[in-house]
């Protein structure tokens, strides 16, 4: 065997550090001798591995067994200062459980809040994309001649793009579908995909196989769908699913975590789309992976010229897939994310201030210990290292608790936010979160310990404890002021958000939500054409209306509160009249009664009406400011002329402003998605009636329950309510930290002055006069903190008033309430230790 030049240098270096100087030569010599023998007998690789193992095991005696100390015999105890200090620091922390637990709770609460909020909002803004290396995947998008963004292409355009590209392109067109699995019927998202879809996105079969080029009536299901709808059936591959009534054979299940770009439940080949008309419609989203900027630009140029030749002049571009959340949705969330992140950070600052107070107080009590160490020969650096190491160890202990706090927040908060249960799977404690947690915790504890170290001079402690105590007291006072201020800000913010939420809740919705129940049903276009759709809908309405618990039934094409169809309207006969933006709601005659929408003037329509409209009052006022709109003619942006039949009562319809709505007659002959509104008694009873009636008419149709109007109105305010609840939680947390801080500060101060107070009492001072010494300091600090917090909270309130409805620039009642609560907590935090001090002071004098 060929011999290596020597043992692995890194392993040797590691062993050298672990061995005491006196034993180092002989142990390393033996290891090298053995290494050489092993090299010759079993080869360099095995010998190297053996040497590495020995080097790592050399640390075992250091950390656990310990090398024995030999006084005066030349073999000293192992001198690894770091390890010695670590052991010492660990002992100190165990001996001070009160301090350790307090700092852990404070920092874990602060860090957990920041990490939890960051994870929630990042998960919300940028949910996980269920494909392999999503950062390499780009959408192909375009701008047309009018400057509009084109995100979907026709099949012909896709052919042109594919022919011009040297890279494989994938395409997908997602649509909702009714899926029957055995006896269970439900709605799901189906992705119609090109053959390269899985290859480009890194989809692999966990079972069976994926599509080939000649796939026909075959379906690939996601791991999620397999688990939730197929109950993880091992024989799922080969079974048949009815998708919009058409049979498809399951040929494979994708790996866990693969959801595609559109989070589909299952995928069908593009040629499974019904008919050929889809080819002419721009319905395909196109993507590619890892196209370098140079080749990408060249491809785009070639593709643009070919598209122009084909009569489609488009300017193409690549956009990296970042999030399935739209930019508009992200913009709506972003401000809330910043506010909540800022509040969480305030909690962390308060927690750091609290921990600083505690650590500084602890150092004061250890002043003499430090001085003794110094006198016995410890260098100032070593003492500082000891203190820092203690705090660092405390930080490491805190990390899992901070992660647990973040996990609790991750568990609690999503239920307060306007996201469905399907997306909550994005909120997990990931490796990134844990790393953030660790860095923030270690950073926070170290930042918290810096003023404490600066405040204590060990040498000073032996001479006198007064000056070091004074400096530490000053640092602690500053921290306490910060805590007061941040408590004020957090409480005031919580109050403002709650006030805004209550104001919004108090606005008229324009509906009568009590006793309503809504559900969705989708009639497949291919099978419900014309007469079929009309028959189904008329029968459904009459059958539901005939049910004993139902008082009224209405149909709409739009789900109220959570969806809207935009439209622009102008008056007919006045060419210069400005177009007014509004919402368009196609609604049946019974819709108004079922929703509780009051017709103020005019009348509702019969179900065979086609050319009439009902406007909300405010829309009618804008269009016809001079007179009554009833009987007047209006024109929508598609050129349809309608006569105003009636005026409906105004309402916010889930928003914060009066909604401008134009109700249009409902077209019973159209298939597609329908929202059914029922008014009656008992939500679950109504739901059962709805399901039974739909199933009796067509067992292949799935209903999606939307719940009551109250549920929908609640959902519209989830973000604001969630923010208010979070702000309240943070405010209470900050208040607890503040109360804890002032208690610790006053208690420490009181303990230091017991003797002085005892003498004062003995000399005839009344308890009130004696306690005034302590109270005056607490009042001074609390006053400064509350005033500073008041100023910041007032400024923050002005900022919030521009974003949240129903807030004036200054809300004196809320600010006054904040001041009262913080002052009350400060008083309680001062009163308890003062009372205790007055109790023990006479006894202390007796002892002395």
């Amino acid at each position: 065997m060929k011999r290596r030049s020597g043992p692995p240098a890194m392993a040797r270096w590691l062993a050298e550090r672990a061995l005491p100087a006196t034993e180092r030569e002989c142990v390393l010599g033996d290891m090298e001798e053995k290494y050489v023998a092993l090299c010759e007998r079993e080869g360099a690789r095995k010998a190297g591995l053996w040497y590495w193992r020995q080097s790592l095991l050399a640390w075992w005696p250091v950390t656990v067994l310990r090398w024995p100390a030999r006084s005066g015999r030349g073999v000293p105890a192992i001198t690894l200062p770091g390890l010695w200090l670590a052991r010492h620091a660990a002992r100190r922390l165990v001996r001070r459980p009160g301090l350790s637990v307090s700092v852990v709770v404070l920092i874990a609460g602060g860090v957990g809040s920041v990490v939890g909020i960051t994870a929630i909002f990042m998960g919300w803004l940028y949910p996980r994309i269920g494909v392999e290396r999503p950062a390499e995947v780009s959408w192909v998008e375009a701008t047309d001649s009018s400057g509009s963004t084109v995100r979907a292409f026709t099949a012909d355009a896709l052919d042109v793009l594919s022919a011009a590209s040297s890279q494989p392109l994938g395409s997908v067109s997602a649509a909702g579908a009714t899926i029957r699995t055995g006896s269970d019927v439900g709605r799901g998202l189906v992705g119609y995909v090109s053959s390269g879809y899985f290859t480009i996105l890194g989809g692999r079969p966990a079972m069976g196989r994926l599509f080939g080029d000649d796939s026909g009536a075959e379906v690939v299901v996601s791991g999620r769908f397999w688990a939730s709808r197929l109950d993880r059936a091992p024989d799922a591959v080969g079974s048949t699913l009815l998708i919009d009534r058409r049979p498809f054979t399951v040929i494979g299940v994708t790996q866990d975590g693969f959801d595609g770009l559109e989070s589909s439940d299952l995928w069908l080949p593009l040629n499974a789309k019904v008919g050929d008309s889809w080819r002419a419609r721009p319905s395909l989203r196109v993507f590619t992976r890892a196209m370098r900027s140079g080749s990408g630009a060249a491809w785009l140029a070639v593709a643009e010229s070919r598209l122009a030749l084909a009569g489609q002049p488009l300017r193409l571009r690549l956009r990296v897939v970042t999030s399935p959340v739209s930019q508009a949705e992200r913009d709506a969330i972003a401000f809330s994310a910043w506010v909540m992140g800022g509040l969480a950070f305030l909690v962390l600052i308060g927690a750091c201030a609290g921990a600083t107070n505690l650590l500084a107080a602890d150092l004061v009590t250890r002043g003499q210990e430090m001085a003794t160490r110094r006198a016995l020969g410890s260098s100032p650096g070593r003492i500082t290292a000891l203190v820092m190491l203690e705090n660092l160890l405390l930080a490491f202990v805190t990390v899992p608790f901070a992660a647990a706090a973040a996990a609790v927040l991750l568990h609690l908060v999503p239920s307060w936010l306007p996201v469905g249960s399907a997306t909550t799977r994005f909120y997990t404690v990931s490796a990134g979160n844990v790393l953030l947690c660790s860095l923030l915790t270690v950073g926070s504890v170290l930042v918290a310990s810096l003023p404490a170290i600066g405040a204590t001079d060990p040498a000073e402690g032996l001479r006198s404890r007064s000056s070091s105590g004074l400096r530490t007291s000053r640092a602690a006072g500053i921290m306490l002021v910060i805590q007061f201020a941040q408590s004020m800000v957090l409480l005031a913010t919580a109050g403002l958000l709650l006030h805004s939420m209550r104001t919004v809740r108090g606005l008229p919705s324009g509906f009568e939500p009590e006793g309503t129940w809504l559900f969705n049903v989708t009639l497949p276009l291919a099978e419900y054409e014309g007469g079929m759709a009309a028959r189904f809908q008329h029968t459904l309405v009459s059958e539901l209306a005939a049910a004993p618990s139902v008082q009224a039934v209405g149909l709409s094409r739009v789900t109220p509160v959570i969806a809207a169809l935009p439209v622009t309207i102008r008056r007919v006969g006045e060419p210069g009249a400005a177009a007014v933006a509004a919402r368009r709601v196609p609604a049946s005659n019974g819709y108004f009664t079922a929703m509780g929408i009051r017709i103020e003037r005019g009348r509702a329509w019969r179900d065979d009406t086609h050319d009439e409209a009902i406007l909300t009052e405010n829309l009618a006022r804008i269009l016809f400011p001079a007179g009554d709109a009833v009987g007047e003619e209006i024109e929508s942006d598609d050129g349809t002329r309608l006569r105003v039949a009636g005026i409906a009562a105004d309402g916010t319809q889930g928003g914060v402003e009066m909604a401008r709505v134009m109700y249009l007659p409902y077209d019973f002959t159209r298939a597609g998605s329908i929202t059914v509104v029922m008014r009656g008694r008992g939500g679950t009873a109504l739901d059962r009636v709805a399901r039974e009636r739909v199933a009796s008419l067509d067992p292949e149709l799935a209903t999606s329950t939307l719940g009551s109007l109250d549920d929908l109105l609640d959902r519209a305010q989830l973000l604001q309510r969630g923010m208010a609840q979070l702000a309240t939680l943070f405010g209470l947390l900050a208040l607890a930290i503040c109360g804890f801080g002032i208690y610790a500060q006053v208690d420490r101060q009181a303990r230091g002055r017991v003797r002085e107070i005892a003498i004062r009492l003995a000399l005839g001072a009344t308890p009130r006069l004696a306690s005034a010494v302590v109270w005056s300091n607490a009042l001074r600090l609390g006053g400064i903190g509350i005033l500073a917090g008041l100023a910041i909270a007032a400024g923050f309130g002005v900022l919030l008033s521009t974003w949240f409805f129903g807030l004036s620039r200054v809300e004196p009642v809320i600010l006054a309430a904040g001041v009262t609560i913080v002052a009350a907590i400060a008083a309680a935090g001062t009163a308890i230790p003062t009372w205790r001090m007055l109790r023990i002071a006479p006894a202390r004098l007796g002892q002395d």
Binding site: G6, A15, A18, L19, E23, E25, C26, V27, L28, G29, D30, M31, E32, E33, K34, V36, R53, Q54, L57, A58, W60, P61, L65, W67, P68, R70, R73, V75
Partner: protein, 107 residues
């Protein structure tokens, strides 16, 4: 003899007894590995030797430095009379404990 020794200390002393006077750490290590099949580390052997030397059961001196050891000196260890006595006592104790139990030795 009131001193007691741990199992690994006993193994090290026995290996030293077998290897003879002026045994090196490698020789003791190899003896233990070969006879017990236990995968012990060289540093662990040296920690135990240091402890036994403190108790006076072994004594050590520096040996010659060789190129195969990277120019490092060898440590040569010898069992002292006290160490031998401790071993004898340990065996006597163990034999008394085993006697009459009916258990047979197995590898």
């Amino acid at each position: 003899m009131g001193d007691s020794i741990g199992e690994f200390e006993q193994l090290v002393l026995l290996a030293l007894l077998r290897a003879g006077p002026d045994a090196s750490g490698v020789a003791i290590h190899d003896e233990i590995v070969e006879r017990t099949g236990r995968d012990v580390s060289i540093p662990a052997v040296y920690v135990t030797l240091a402890r036994l030397e403190l108790k006076g059961y072994v004594r050590s001196r520096s040996g010659e430095a060789t190129t195969v050891r990277g120019g490092r000196a060898r440590k040569l260890v010898t069992l002292t009379a006290t160490g031998e006595a401790v071993l004898r006592h340990s065996r006597w104790v163990l034999e008394r404990m085993w006697r009459g139990t009916g258990l047979r030795a197995e590898p």
